[in-house]
Amino acid sequence: MTAAEKPSYRVIGTRPIRPDGVEKVTGKALFGADARPAGLVYGKVLRSPHAHARILSIDTRAAEAFPGVLAVATARDLPAASDEVQALGETAVNLKELSDNVLASDRVLYRGHAVAAVAAASVHVAEEAARRIRVEYEPLPVVLDVREAMLDDAPLLNERLLTRSMGKTISDRPSNVASKVQFVGGDVEKAFAEADAVVERHFTTKMVHQGYIEPQTATVQWNPDGEITVWATTQGAFACRGQLAEVLRRPASTIRVIPMEVGGGFGGKTPVYLEPVAAILSRKSGRPVMLTMSRSEVFEATGPTSGTSIHVKLAASGGRLTAAQLDLAYEAGAYPGSSVSAGAMTMLAPYDVENFKIDGYDVVVNKPKTAAYRAPGSPAAAFALEQAVDELARAIGADPLAFREASSSREGTRMVNGMPFPRIGHEECLRAAMESAHYRSPIEGPNRGRGVASGYWFNAGMQSSVTVAVNTDGTVNLVEGSSDLSGTRASLAMQLAESLGIEYSQVRVTVADTDSVGHNDVSGGSRTTFATGLAVHQAALDIQQQMRTRAAKLWGCAEDEVVYEAGSLRCTTDEAKTLTFAGMAAQSARTGGPINGRASLLARGAGGAFGTHIADVEVDPETGKVQVLRYTAVQDVGTAIHPAYVEGQIQGGAAQGIGWALNEEYYYDDDGRLANASFLDYRMPTALDLPAIDTVIVEVPNPGHPYGVRGAGEVPIVPPLAAIANAIADATGHRFSDLPISPRRIVETLHHLE
């Protein structure tokens, strides 16, 4: 949109200091592991040393007898869970599998699978005692690779697992393929036959971890009356409560989840791991129990994102993309539920491709159950597609961005599921990238190259509830329930200030526990600023309406003669009658009592969004080191409520994507032992590894939100994998189709080429 069309806002688009900022820079903010209820004791989980084994017996007697031990828990202490599925933001979980993942009952499916736990006065005592638990295993054959797991003679993780598709069982014999998705449109064969150019290539990516700096931790107090309090680090207090209620078979109302500050989640802090175990230990010991994972436990036992194997065949005709045949196999980990369907649905989203056939497979392997990781499913799909698109552009001699623009999706383009896109901004991103100083500058020098790539994420709506109390001094208290992972208190308070026409400084915002606010779905799917923002706006309208009713009474006029505008009420038939927001607030007691706004909603109209990234790299052919020289991330965010935090999200997502492209991977030995379960060996980018990441914010407002918000958090991790790979291809003349493009891989490949 041009500057002239852009609505002018008072608060939106400014960069105020976040409400929780001072607490966080002074060390006062309380994160998960900072809970200190009176009488707190600590626990430790015993984990499987095998990647696949039957549990023959568990003998906890020596641990129970160990001095200082207060309680021991195994799966026998958990009630049997039902086989139902609960939506968890962008992923769904089967509760029986969730329960088995929390504490294995008869079988361990990955190394690090929890088997038992101990509570004691100190974590050291708990650890020593846990080592004294005797578990007898019968090791079973291990399958780790997604394509191997799909073979007919592969070892099975679950002898009852039959392949499902569209809600129906489609196989008659068990396999590791839990489900299949398919999207078909047009005539692929014909389009390939008539194409000007065809590219076909196979890509693989490894499991990678979200890498949040705060390990999983949970503190639970189970009182003798059955009341349970949980201090959690979670992306969704209500999802945490729901899972806990199901696993423990307790009514939801008996569980109060207090959301502590969350030290990073990126999708990984939606499933529960420790909470049910801490609850059992608390019930048995009568004390509040804290369980905290070590870093290696985080790597081995919490959900990373899928390793993938993706086959791509693309065709171009008349200077644009015309056909795509895609085959995606995603590792689900130990239990079904990878993000393959999201991968299959997002993969072609940037382009208007008439003919396509897409097959996706969700495959169980002996690795931890995967969890959501920022735009789950999309980055690996984009890694494959955007490299093939690049190759195709080269094959027909087109500029890679111009080729993308000629093939781009726009409003009305049908997605692979047949739904037409509403207003979207991919073309705007491509144009902004082409016009950027970065793209217009030359890239020169030996071993240097430039790559571009686009990416898409749906962005989510889902459920939010907020309340807003108006104080008699004209300030307001916003009570919401969306875990603040990245500054959303600020983006919500800003929308409230805008909608009420008051100052940002007059809003105080609290993320409340599950007893103190209505239901909120997880902070995930880039939904908080959009959907909880929508709830905040509706609560503001509710307050405006209540104030208009009161003003009409005060003034003796009709309600429709009172307008609320820019933080003031006025009577349209009598100019002398005006009241400011604070003036009306001061009169609450005299005009009917406290004024509270509320809104609970299921947000419709989430706005999917695109990003286009440009990467310049230099590859050292001797050492294989890739230096990212310059990086620009262009992204349509709809409207940036707090541009500094939007930039931060874009930079953070790009940084994770760069790490994924160049270094990060789960490195397994043949027995399924994760060989790099530490921050030293699982090497995430440091400040020294990255350049300053430039951001270009594109604003194509989402028609489904009063201020045009789309969401910002996930799109930026989608393009970097391919942008970096395309840059390396440009620099070296060789296309790397397997991630990570590590120094070793580069040296081996380039050496082999010579």
């Binding site: 820079v25 060390g27 050291h124 700096i213 921050f679 400040a687 990255l690």
Partner: protein
């Protein structure tokens, strides 16, 4: 296990505590002394979330045994602000939006303080090098580096 008495200076005040030989300074700070501002991200020296100053040197508290700190002078994030006056680094982190989740922030502020007190003019390259021992997974570091540069300018201004 037998516990040893340790006396030290912590954020400008005398403290004493009992600790087991196997307990780290991080554990004592957080679990015995209630100073939870120093964070735990890995407990093996790889993330810098537990950065504190020990006798004027930047260390990872998870890699220091508490018994080693007898007679030492320790500064944690809780001792960085001067009463209700934020340190220029704390102010700069707020103004530059240099934190998202905030779990890494105390460690970065302590580490950056150690650098700027010696080198307020540190270049971007130098800052990136110095801070490479601190992991942040949220920000991509750009805004952290900018905040440190901004604080450096301010600290120099107030020193002269």
């Amino acid at each position: 296990m037998r516990r040893t008495q340790v006396q030290a200076r912590l954020n400008g005040a005398d403290v004493d505590f009992l600790c087991e030989p196997r307990q780290s300074l991080l554990e004592i700070l957080r679990d015995e002394l209630g100073l939870t501002g120093t964070k735990e991200g890995c407990s093996n020296g790889n993330c810098g979330a537990c950065s504190v100053m020990l006798n004027g040197r930047l260390v990872n508290a998870c890699c220091v045994l508490a018994v080693e700190t007898d007679g030492a002078d320790i500064l944690t994030i809780e001792g960085v602000a001067d009463g209700d006056q934020l340190h220029p680094l704390q102010q700069a982190f707020l103004e530059e939006a240099a934190l998202q989740c905030g779990i890494c922030t105390p460690g970065f502020i302590i580490a950056a303080k150690a650098l700027l007190e010696r080198e307020p003019d540190a270049t971007e390259e130098r800052i990136r090098y110095w801070l490479a021992g601190n992991l942040c997974r949220c920000t991509g570091y750009d805004k952290i580096v900018k905040a440190v540069q901004r604080a450096g300018v301010q600290m120099k201004g107030s020193a002269s």
